[in-house]
Symmetry: D2
Subunit: 301 residues, 4 copies
C-alpha cells in the first residue's frame, strides 16, 4: 500500500525504511535535502513539496506525519488541506496532544478526510524490532490502513490496535510515556542505591544482566540499562541533565484533571525538573531558614 | 548435586521440583506432612526433622533454606549449627535482611561452614521459567554450588551470579524489590488514568497487550498486567488492599541512610501504606481544618 | 470611600461588614434576597441588580467582586461593562486564575476602566482579624483604593500591598494556596503519626497547644488545629474526604510550566485526590499483580 | 530551683541564661573553658567536671543535659550514674531518639533516679521568646521540676507540658521536626515558584511580609522567611546545601513502621538528600537511557 511519509527525521526515516522492507512503496517528504537523499538510498521516492507529494499518491491517499508535535503539525495540515480530497487519510504518528488530535480529526471529518492519531513507541529500535502502535480514529479508516500497521508492528496481529475514537491513540501514548517516566526513575533510583553501597562494590551491569533473566523486574528498559552501563560503566561522562517532552507533563495534568492520584509518575517528572534546576532557590531558602531559627551554619558561595 | 531443601512452601517446593527435573537429588524438610507428601510425589525424599535431613546428606553438605525471613530463619540455623561440620554450606534463598545475612555468615565462618545469601526472584513462575539469583558469599563456596544455580536459573550462564561478599546477594534482592514497587506503581497509576478517561472507553487489557510488543514500557510485569486484566477485567472483585513485605521498607531506609534520593520507590511504598489506611486520620484533620478557616462544609459520618 | 460589593456570600458579606465598621459606605448586590437582607442588618444599602448598583455609586466608582471564580465572574463583568465609564475601577477579590485576570484587565483597560486583581486570604476569620491582600494592577488605581485595602487589612500598612501588574495578585494568591496545601498536609501527617503511636496515648490537642507557643512550627493553622481537635477530639465524626479548589492544581501546573520542582505542594494535592478515590483502581491492580507473580492472596470483595 | 546545666553550647547556654534571669541559680558544666567563662559572665557558677557539678547541687538534684544526641549523651550519663543518688533527676533536653530515652529512663529508674526526656523547640530565639517543651516521664518528677519548665517556656502555663511517659517527649519532638521539614519545604517551593515567574518580578520579601498578617499561611517560619529575604534578597550567597539532623529521618522511619502515609514529610526529607547529591547518578542514568531508546542526545561532561 503506497504511503506518503512527511518528516524524515530519526523516527520517520526508520518507519519509511521498515515499510519499504515490507513491500510498501513510500514517497518521502522533508524540507532537508540530506534527509531525502538518505531515504532515496533505501529505495524510496522523495519530493521537496507537499504539492509534489500529494501528486505522487493515487487516491484514496494515505499520508503519515512524523513531525514534532505542535505548531509544525498544524502548519503542515494547513498546507495539505486544500490538496486532499474526500476519502484520503492522514495519520499523525507523532506525540501530539490528544486534544489537538480530536480537534484536527473533527476538522478533517467535515471534508470527508480520514484522520487517525497513532501513538508510536519503540524509539530507534523500532526499525529492527517493530513499533508499538496505539491508534485512534474511525474503524473503517483504520481497517483500510491495516497493512501498514501490520508491517510497522513487531509481528502480525501483535503490538498494534485501534484503541478508540479520534484522540484515543494519542491519549494512550501520553499515558504510555507517563508510565515510562515512572519505570525509568524506579530503575535509576535502584541502581543509585546499589552504587552508593560502597561496601559491596557491586557491578551494576552484572546486576542489570542477572535481573534481565527470570526476575520480576525484567523489562526492555532494564536491558537498555545493561547496555548503557556496558557502554558507560560509571556514567561519569554523561551530564545529569534530563530533558522531558510534553507527554509526561500532560499525563500529570490529566491525572489531576481526572482526580487520579499518580504520585510516582508525578515524582518522576519532578525529578527531571530537579535535574535541570542547578540554582535551586528552594534549597538556598531552606539553608537560610535553618540558619535563622537554629543558628545552623550555611555554606557561603 | 544432592541438596537438602528446608521449607517446602510455594517457593521451596517449586525450587526443589526444578532441581529434581534438572537431575539433582533433593531431600526435603518441612514440619507439615502435606508439604512433604506433595514433594514426594515429585520424586524427592523427605524427612521430618533437621537431624534426619543432615543424616541423609553426604558431606560436604549443601542445605538450602527457603523459609520466611526473621526469627524462623534464626531458629532453624540454631538447630542446624551443632549438626553441621566444616565444609558444609548453607544457602539462605529467602528474603532476609542483608545485615542478618552478614551476621550469620560471619558466625558460621567461625566453624568453617559456608554461608551464602541468595536473593531469589521469579515468584510462582520460577518453576517453569527459572529464577533470577543474586548471590553473596565466598567465591569458592559459590563455585562449588554452581551446578545448582545453573539449574535454578532460566538458562545456563544467565540470570544468576555471585555479586559480592556475604550480604551482597540479599542487598541486591532488597533493591530489586524496591524497584519492583516503583514499576508496579507506575503501571497501576497509568492504567488508572486510562480507565478514568471514560470518554474513550479504553480496553485496558488490549492496551497492555499492545504495549507488550515493541513499546518502550514492555516488561514481564506488563505481561502479567495483561493476564490479570484478562482474568478480572474490571478488578471489581479484588479489594484495594496492598500488602508490603519488608524489602520495600528496607530499601527506603537504606536509601535514606546512604543519602540517595529515591522519591519514586518511596512514594510507591507510601501508596501501599495508604491502601491500608482506611481510617485516614490525616484526611479527617484536613477536612476539619478547611472547615475551621474557610467555613467549608465537612461531610459527617 | 463608597464601594459596591458584588456577591454577598460568606466572604463578600464579611468583607462588606468590615468595611462598614471602618466607616466605608457599602452598597451590596446579590441575587439572593436573604443575603441582601442580612447585609442590610449590618447597615448597608443593597440592590437586586447591577444596573441599580452602578446607579447608587458616584463616579469614579469602585466595585468589588466576591464571587466564585470562572464563568460567573465573566458573566458579571459582561453585565457591568456597558454600565461603567472611564475612571471606574473593578476589583476581583475572588480566586480567579491569574491569566483570566490578565485578560480581563487588558480588556477593561481599553475602556479606561481600572481592573485590580486582589488575592484575598483570611477565610471566615478575616471579618474579625482582617484580610491579607495581594494586589495586582496599575499603581494609580491601587493607590486610589488604598483606604479600602487599609480597612480590610489586619492593621494599617500591614498585610496588604500592590505586588505587581495585572495578574500578579492572583498569581501570588495561587501560590499562597499551594503553600497552604503543603502546610496543612505536613501538620495532618504529623498528627497522624502522633495518634498512631498508641503506646504513648498522646493528647493531640495538648500538643497542638504546646507547639503554638514558642515552637518552630507555631502558626495560625496550628492554632486552628488545636481548635479543631478541641471541638472533635477523635475526628471520628468527620469524613476523610478533602476537597480542593482550583488554586492548588494551578500551582502544580505553574510549577511544572516554570520548571520548578515542587514535590511537597504536589504531593499535598495528590493526597487530596487520594482522599476522594474510594474505589482505588490502582491499588486493586497492585493486589492483582502481586497475586500474579507471587501467588500472594488477594482479598476478595 | 537550682539546676546543673550540662553542655553550654548555643542551646544550653541560652537556656541557662533564661533560667538565671528567672531567678533560678545555675551551675554550668562544659569541657570548653570559653563556654564556661561566657556563662560566668551571665552570673552562673561553672565547673569543669561532673564530679564538681554534682558536688555543687544539693539533693534532690536537678541536672539538665543539653548535648548532641547519641554517644555523647550515653558517655555523660555513664559518668553521672555513680555520682547520683535516689531522688535526683536528669533531664535530657537534646534531640535524642525516643527509644534511647525509654531505655535510659528505665535504667535510671532502677536506681530511683528520675529521668525526663524534654523535647525542646525554639532555636536561638528561645532565649528571648521562650522554649516550647514536650516532656516525657513520671508525673511526680515533672511536677517537681515545673518551676524550671515554667521559666523556660514562653509564658506561665503555656508552651510546655508533660505529654506522656518516658520517651513521649522525644517522640513528640521528633514528629515536631518532621512537620517542620514539611512546612519549610512548602514555603521554599512556593517562594521558588514566585521567583521563577519573571513576568511579575515579584518582591519575595514583600510577599512574606504581607502574608505574615492575616493570611492563612502566616507562621513563625514565614516571619523568619521575611527576615532571611531581607538579609539576603536573592539568596545568591547561600549554597543550596541543606543538612538534616536525625529527627526527620526518624519521623519517616516511624511513619513507615506505624503504617502512616506521610508523603509530604518524606518528600521534604528527600529534597534535602537531593540538595546534597551533586553527582546525581540517577539523573545520569536517566539521560543515558533516553539516549539508548530514543537516540536523544546526552550532554557530555
Amino acid at each position: 500500500m503506497k504511503l506518503g511519509m512527511i518528516g524524515l527525521g530519526r523516527m520517520g526515516a526508520n518507519m519509511a525504511q521498515r515499510l519499504l522492507h515490507g513491500g510498501h512503496p513510500v514517497v518521502g517528504f522533508d524540507p532537508r535535502i540530506e534527509a531525502r537523499v538518505a531515504l532515496q538510498g533505501q529505495g524510496a521516492e522523495t519530493v521537496d513539496s507537499l504539492v509534489a507529494l500529494v501528486a505522487k499518491l493515487p487516491p484514496p491517499r494515505a499520508l503519515w506525519l512524523m513531525v514534532p508535535a505542535g505548531e509544525v503539525t498544524d502548519a503542515i495540515l494547513d498546507g495539505l488541506r486544500p490538496l486532499l480530497q474526500a476519502g484520503d487519510t492522514l495519520v499523525d504518528g507523532g506525540n501530539s496532544r490528544y486534544q489537538d488530535s480530536q480537534r484536527r480529526a473533527a476538522s478533517f471529518a467535515g471534508q470527508g478526510i480520514g484522520y487517525v492519531d497513532c501513538g508510536t513507541s519503540g524509539g530507534v529500535w523500532g526499525l529492527a524490532e517493530g513499533y508499538s502502535l496505539m491508534i485512534g480514529g474511525d474503524e473503517a479508516v483504520v481497517e483500510r490502513l491495516s497493512p501498514l500497521f501490520e508491517c510497522l508492528a513487531p509481528a502480525p496481529g501483535r503490538g498494534w490496535g485501534r484503541v478508540g475514537p479520534a484522540g484515543a491513540g494519542h491519549f494512550a501514548k501520553m499515558v504510555h510515556n507517563g508510565i515510562e517516566y515512572g519505570l525509568m526513575q524506579a530503575y535509576a533510583e535502584g541502581f543509585s542505591i546499589l552504587r552508593q553501597k560502597h561496601d559491596f562494590d557491586l557491578d551494576l551491569q552484572q546486576l542489570a544482566d542477572i535481573w534481565s533473566h527470570g526476575s520480576v523486574v525484567r523489562s526492555w528498559l532494564l536491558e537498555l540499562t545493561a547496555k548503557a552501563l556496558a557502554e558507560h560503566p560509571s556514567l561519569h561522562d554523561i551530564t545529569p541533565y534530563v530533558a522531558d517532552s510534553g507527554e509526561g507533563r500532560w499525563t500529570v495534568d490529566e491525572a489531576i484533571a481526572l482526580g487520579v492520584p499518580a504520585p510516582v509518575i508525578t515524582q518522576a517528572l519532578i525529578a527531571r525538573l530537579r535535574s535541570r534546576d542547578a540554582e535551586s532557590f528552594a534549597d538556598r531558602l531552606l539553608a537560610a531558614l535553618r540558619n535563622q531559627f537554629g543558628g545552623h551554619e550555611v555554606r557561603k558561595e
